[in-house]
């Protein structure tokens, strides 16, 4: 569904990604793990067009999307729940969800039943249903994360990019977020998940890539990588270190 080949990108003169290649099969959940500053978020930002790549190819389905503006990529069906959630703080929860379906409401993507989908999101995230009329800026961090995920799902995306959905959340909420990701996986939604909690991500994913200094350092089925001692040592960080103590 998503095939990335030799992607090079960065900010200004600082090159962060030095030729990334990865693939996300339709209906699978792939995770991208790696230490801070390895380029995980940059990868997602480049895929969704927030950053223009300086080289490489990104195929969504069989169409090239590298270099397109972000809004065009979204209209092709790539949804991105960005790092830091980025909900629209001055608009209500319900409106935030509607905005996620903007291409559907304006004819750029098949419309189907937007309102029914919004109700599905409220069913998936009951906390949001309670707060549908509330301004998004007044939500707690966990609720904002759910809103950001729901908003991205409203696109009826071909591929969903999730950037650090656990960031800044209390452990209980992290568990909740991961159970939702597992449910989406069961619904055969194609996802690329970036996570700092490598162990949790490997638990839920089908396939994983390990990013190191802007390059893919390792890849394989998530179950295999989870037990790879080298990967554990390098990327499970303090968790691994403390696991021995």
């Amino acid at each position: 569904m998503l095939k990335v080949t030799n992607l090079v990108a960065g900010y200004g003169k600082v090159q962060v990604l030095h030729g990334i290649s990865l693939e996300v099969e339709k209906g699978t959940l792939v995770t991208l793990i790696g230490s801070n500053g390895a380029g995980k978020t940059t990868t997602l930002r480049t895929l969704s067009g927030m950053i223009k790549p300086s080289a490489g190819s990104i195929l969504l389905g069989d169409r090239e999307i590298a270099g397109l503006d972000a809004f065009k990529i979204a209209r092709r069906g790539l949804a991105h729940s960005p790092e830091g959630r980025r909900v629209f703080p001055t608009q209500t929860v319900a409106d935030n969800l509607l905005l996620g379906a903007f291409p559907r409401l304006t004819g750029a993507r098949p419309k189907n039943d937007v309102m029914a989908d919004r109700d599905r999101m409220f069913a998936l995230f009951p906390r949001l249903a309670e707060r549908r009329g509330q301004l998004a800026g007044t939500l707690s961090g966990g609720e904002q994360q759910m809103l950001a995920m729901g908003r991205a799902l409203m696109l009826e995306p071909e591929v969903l990019l999730l950037d650090e959905p656990s960031m800044g959340l209390a452990p209980k909420l992290v568990a909740e977020v991961f159970s939702i990701i597992a449910r989406l996986k069961a619904e055969k939604i194609t996802m690329l998940l970036v996570e700092q909690f490598a162990a949790a991500a490997l638990e839920v994913a089908d396939f994983a890539y390990v990013l190191e200094n802007g390059r893919i350092a390792a890849s394989g089925p998530a179950a295999t990588l989870k037990n790879d001692p080298a990967v554990r040592a390098a990327y499970l960080g303090a968790a691994h270190a403390s696991a021995h103590v």
Partner: protein
Amino acid sequence: MLVKTAIRTLIVAALVIAPFAVTSPYYLHLLVTIAIFAIVALGLDIVFGYTGEVSIGHAALFGIGAYTAGCLVMHFDLGFWPSIVLGPIVAAAFGGLLALPALRVTGPYLAMVTLAFGTIVQILINETVDLTNGPLGIKLNTPFFLDLRDYGDTWSILDMSLKRMRDVEYFYVTGIALLLAVLVINRITASRFGRAFEALRDAPIACDCMAVSVYRHKVMAFIISAAFAGFGGVLFAFSEQYIAPNTFSFDLSVQFLLAVTMGGRKSRLGPILGATIVVFLPNILADIALFRIVVGVIAAIALCVGLYAVLRRRDLLPKLAPPVALCILFFVLALTMRSITDFRLSIFGLMILFVVYFLPDGIVGAAKILLRQITPAFRKRHASTQAEGEASHAITVTTDAVSADALLEVRTAVMQFGGLRALDKVDLAVTAGTIHGLIGPNGSGKSTMMNLLSGIYTPTSGEILFEGRSIAGLGSSQIAGRGIARTFQNVQLFGELTLLENVLVGLHHSYKSTLLDVVLRLPRAIREERAARQRAADILSFVGLRDRADEEARNLPYGKQRLLEIGRALALDPKLLLLDEPAAGLTAPDIADLIAIIKAIRARGISVILIEHHMDVVMGLCDVITVLDFGQKIAEGQAAAVQANPRVVEAYLGGAVAA
């Protein structure tokens, strides 16, 4: 350097010879006007070019200078010399009045306020008839002076009677004034003040965190700039010998802006060149034949330069083709036009658009870039002091008797953003002379804590005590002044400054010399600058970047940029250094350097708070580690104890999921 000296000599020579070459009083007067406009444009460049703020009120400040002269002449019968002193002072005072409120906010506010100010000043000049003679204007005479040309004939040196200055003498007066303006501005821009002006534009937050108040320096730049406008205004009043309110209009302000942009910002030659064009413009636009010739010549030059550049570098074609084509098109348009008098303003507007689109760096800037692209060897940057130094003296701590008590104490700090509680009643105590680690998953509140400690945020509630005194609610630059320095997660260097200059901005606080010392080049200023450069070079040695001192910071590789940021922070002589993910994005050898540097910093008695994700760095360096999760402190203690803490393990694994 050689080119610069040659150009300077040429300009001075041209100034001396001009009155002999240009005998027509009309053109001599134009030259005087150019010099005056150049002075205003050079002053405007300090605000516009260096600090990056836009002023559309310089015509008003110029008018205030002129009217100060007019009023002194009309009411007190005081002449040129008192005016030339008072004019800049009055204009500077008005400049301060505007800038103090307007620059509290970033964005287009200064532009808007100065635009309004310009209109109001015109109204006030028109209305306060008693003071300014209203719309009728004021007549002035040229100043008294020794009549130079009498001496040639009579050699009556004893005849010291003063006579009214004639145009040639006045030309020299303005010429000298222009040279003085260039000299003064050169000195200011080369001083710590000039560096501050440039730094605050590149990275305002970092600038504040170097104890260099962005607000204060912007206001200062504006006041200096206003003083030059007033200075030009006085010269203008005595040159025209008649002033009326209509002269000092919005259009004139735009002309000054155009002069700076078109000539080229951040240079001396640029504004002078721009002023020349702007002053000649009305003459060109008054005569269709002359207009066609000038446009034709410009089109020809554009074509030649474009062709030459494209022949040397093929890839420049798409960039150069549109402006060259437009120049030629404009020439064709000029040939078909019957009259231009009605379209003067439109042509003026089109010129501005052309400059904004195709000459954003001005003529001088574009020439430099073009030269650099065609001949890669053409690179410049002023030489630094090449003095050899001993790095170990570079870093000093001025703690008054380091006590075992907490250097920094945070009590129940809360930071709330809308519905998000980024920090929830966090306590933190940092003992002097230690490295204190701050770790936790992403979004746990570490960076928020850094921003609280460096004054970028004000806590919603709670206390922050540094050396026993509260710093909560102080501004970044005040906190930096107390001795807390920081680096940034996403590196914030002053990109257009050299490495040495970046560190010198950090040393800003160590200077005592005032603006006046700098302008007059008093020994104190020279001595301090030399000492600071020496220290900056030592600090660069300390972080291992000495050999690249004269490169622009933005050209450094990422890893070195992080080291430079630490060097810049050390220049502040901090007691506490906040390092926000210093190892992020670094390669293994860079990290080894970094660890050595942080250890050396602690050895010199500077306390450090370290946020870092590389656990080996944290565990190897930190004396105490605090773990944050979800805005709360969940553990604190020595490395081994923290690692063993089950709550920490849980936080890092993401709770029950992975357990």
